[in-house]
Symmetry: C2
């Protein structure tokens, strides 16, 4: 079971990361997400990391990379559900997750994505 | 990491099962879900099993049991994302998931839950 499932929720895709990510799983996830965005025309990606007790620089880079891939495919990425201890460790380690938007939980993340979409339509 | 995260989506809760369920993980999930339904007043539970390549009688019983617990707490459970091979195996094994509602994917599952809620309000 080395494939992380991607769920579709209207115009958004949802990924819940529960397992320790190995290099291959992370690469597969990036490829799966990219082709899924292309196929569905999804405009947002929510990544739930509430099950992760550790976010190291590998995961940080992976999140930034997914976010970058989604951006060039015209989708916004929001990372949700970060545990308080994870946030503390990230800052202590000097990892600031550049280019990655975050929200407290899934509902806030969805609102953020919806607002981002609405703003785009206004322009 | 032996706790399966539960996400909230409006009036519904979402659980994505990605790991092989052990007895303790399954029990913890039941307890977490029950207390989450009680705390949030959620009216529906979506369980995504698209990552599972095998659904045996243990998982079948667990899904039925979650569904039963949710029902007495006034929430409807829908299992979504079953792989075709899993469906075939289930029927071959004579497991019919009694008392468990299913839907093809998350979007269909959400619609099913919304329709069930709307019907209740009509009555």
């Amino acid at each position: 079971m080395d494939r992380i499932p991607i769920l579709q929720l209207g115009r958004f895709l949802l990924v819940t990361i529960q397992v320790d990510l190995q290099d291959q799983t992370a690469l597969t996830l990036q490829e799966d997400l990219a082709s899924r965005i292309e196929r569905t025309g999804a405009r947002g990606v929510l990544i739930d990391i509430s099950a992760l007790e550790i976010v190291d620089s590998f995961i940080g880079r992976m999140l930034a990379s997914i976010s970058g891939i989604a951006r060039v495919l015209d989708a916004t990425t929001v990372v949700v559900g970060m545990q308080p201890a994870v946030a503390i460790t990230l800052v202590e380690l000097g990892l600031s997750l550049p280019g990655v938007r975050t929200a407290l939980n899934m509902e806030h993340g969805m609102k953020l994505l919806e607002n981002a979409l609405a703003e785009e339509l206004d322009q």
